[in-house]
Symmetry: C2
Subunit: 345 residues, 2 copies
DNA sequence: TTGAAGAACTAAACCGATTTAGTCAACTTT
DNA sequence: AAAGTTGACTAAATCGGTTTAGTTCTTCAA
């Protein structure tokens, strides 16, 4: 092991420049209190010694940590299968780069762990603020952020209420109305919805919209079935649906993986898509555009969503007054090859 | 904004317990120097005050930061399209969770930025170690880690040489031999390889293997074309290949997105897969299993790879002697519906 | 009964930055 | 020319832990 270089400190710079540590701090932070020449001299020495601020020392001194936090409460194994998460992360990073801020992230497996993590991060002054996803009813996390005074942004489905945490929201009801409405307009009267887990707000919202359409469009059937988002669950639910005497003429899936699994089952059962069955997904991805038939989806710019969330958080860090909630990018219906009018009876 | 609670410090605990800060520190860290009763009393008070250590203060005191770093030098926008990255991240998090260590991550857009980031992190004592991906010839990053004495692990294609940085390696030549060899064994004599960017080591290794097979299996044609990993590039290259007078009977793609794009082009041109054309990919993913025909791939457990890398890094942090390189999980050939013997001439 | 050893603790230094209070000289003002 | 102002700087406190060098008290052996 080669000899390790010593980290240069402002003390080293001060000694070399023949000034006090305070003067060095003023010079490096562009604050008044040193002459132009001295400032120049100090900056030159700092450069020469290859000095970088010690963030631990800075954080200890009550100033900004230069880090935002992101806790994800999901089984770590499935991160790779979902499209949402890496895209959101891309957006977060895009928003962070110009601010020269790093991301501190942790995957946990329970709400309690998530709450505990925020508490620890706040105590340790490890992060300046956090991004919170997957809102819940009476969310304990928002109460905690309020209690601690830890800045945060929530990514959710409606502007935040009874919390000072601003939300970047995408109207999931509206999105669901767009997608189900399009299928109803095509003439479909037997719709099925292969949903995700019921604990998430958007799952509920989508199911509610579908039920509200029953009367409005005089649907013959309209069922939402919760699943665990897996391809297997989607496949078996699709087999069940397509084996019904009065099988649905359109199935909508809550994510892209399930839609692909459903498409495969339709083929396996010899049911033509979109001839005999229309398929659509609430999640877009590169994959569902590349398969045959390509799948009609709601295209949401998740990257943009992450970017807006970060910008909102950074604003909140600078602001003295609470920052208002903001709408995120609106989902667009991308009609592709997997949807068509239902077959004539 | 509600009144913010004050962070409890060991000073607060000391005052309540009527002891010194030192005693509290001993008690909380399970070190000798306090009696069992006093320790109990201190722990009780710490719990009551909801105390958590301030990581900034701990890091400042030369001890462990409890964080490892990961810098990704990729366009942030594409993170969401690749399978490799979120899977690796899943594995990293899986390895990190039991150690109660957080991940500090940053996306940059150049090698210089990446190097600078390591330097800053080291200076700031922000991370205890780093995970480095995408090895290059004469990699300046490894030299830097050696120079700084910053612990790191490299994820690469062979055990590390002339650096003390241990590697978790997956033998890419062997993997390429397996995949190209299987196609040759099926009887294919005109192979094409739609590759990624040439700057990555594994791209070169794969092309070399293909060339070495020309003589060994008396191939009629064997071309590797570099691309930018995009679906568009793969589609147009596939169109070109399939328009040749003597078109290849098998095409191998460097990732799953390109394989899917190629499959779509084959269909668009009315070329049956696997009847007239075999298709395979070096990257597996849930998606290529769900499409029709499902695609033959090399299945690499990227999640496991990330986990092994983290464990190696954590070992290196604890160890006094250099930690040896370790092989990662070996890729397995997953034969699916997209490959078959070539059509009879 | 004296001395040594050990346990249980305290006081204070330390890590590297920021920040406040204060010093000193030069310059302005009337 | 005395008073006030400003600029350039220093010394020292501070953040919250860890760690080292003592100090005090108890206990046990010779």
């Amino acid at each position: 092991m080669p000899p390790q270089p010593r980290r240069a400190t402002i003390g080293d710079i001060a000694r070399r420049a023949g000034v006090s540590k305070g003067a060095v701090s003023f010079a490096l932070n562009d604050r008044p209190g040193v002459s132009a020449e001295t400032r120049q001299r100090i900056l030159a020495i700092a450069q020469e010694l290859n000095w970088r601020p010690n963030s631990a020392a800075q954080a200890l001194g009550q100033s900004r940590a230069g880090v935002i936090g992101f806790v994800l409460n999901r089984p770590a194994r499935i991160l790779g299968t979902e499209t949402f998460f890496p895209e959101l992360l891309s957006g977060i990073q895009l928003g962070l780069s110009p601010a020269h801020t790093a991301l501190h992230m942790l995957v946990v497996s329970s709400l309690e762990e998530e709450v505990e993590t925020y508490r620890e991060w706040w105590h340790a002054h490890r992060v300046d603020g956090v991004i919170v996803v997957d809102p819940r009813a009476n969310d304990p996390r928002l109460a905690l952020l309020d209690e601690l005074g830890l800045p945060g942004v929530l990514i959710g489905s409606h502007p935040s209420r009874d919390t000072s945490v601003p939300t970047v929201w995408v109207d999931d009801s509206e999105a669901a109305r767009t997608l189900f409405g399009y299928l109803a307009a095509l003439g479909h009267r037997r719709l099925a919805h292969v949903a995700g887990t019921a604990e998430f707000e958007h799952t509920l919202l989508r199911s509610e919209v579908l039920q509200s359409f029953v009367g409005q469009f005089s649907l013959e059937s309209a069922t939402s079935t919760p699943t665990d988002y897996s391809a297997e669950a989607a496949a078996s639910e699709t087999r069940r649906l397509l084996s019904l005497p009065e099988r649905p003429t359109a199935i909508v899936y809550d994510n892209d993986v399930m839609a692909l699994a459903g498409l495969r089952v339709a083929h396996e059962m010899g049911i033509a898509v979109p001839g005999s069955l229309s398929i659509a997904s609430f999640d877009d991805s590169l994959m569902v555009r590349l398969v045959r038939p390509s799948i009609t989806t709601l295209t949401r710019d998740t990257v943009e969503l992450g970017e807006v969330a970060v910008r909102t958080l950074l604003d909140a860090l600078d602001a003295t007054a609470p920052v208002p909630s903001r709408p995120g990018p609106a989902p667009q219906l991308s009609v592709r090859e997997s949807t068509a009018p239902p077959p004539r009876a």
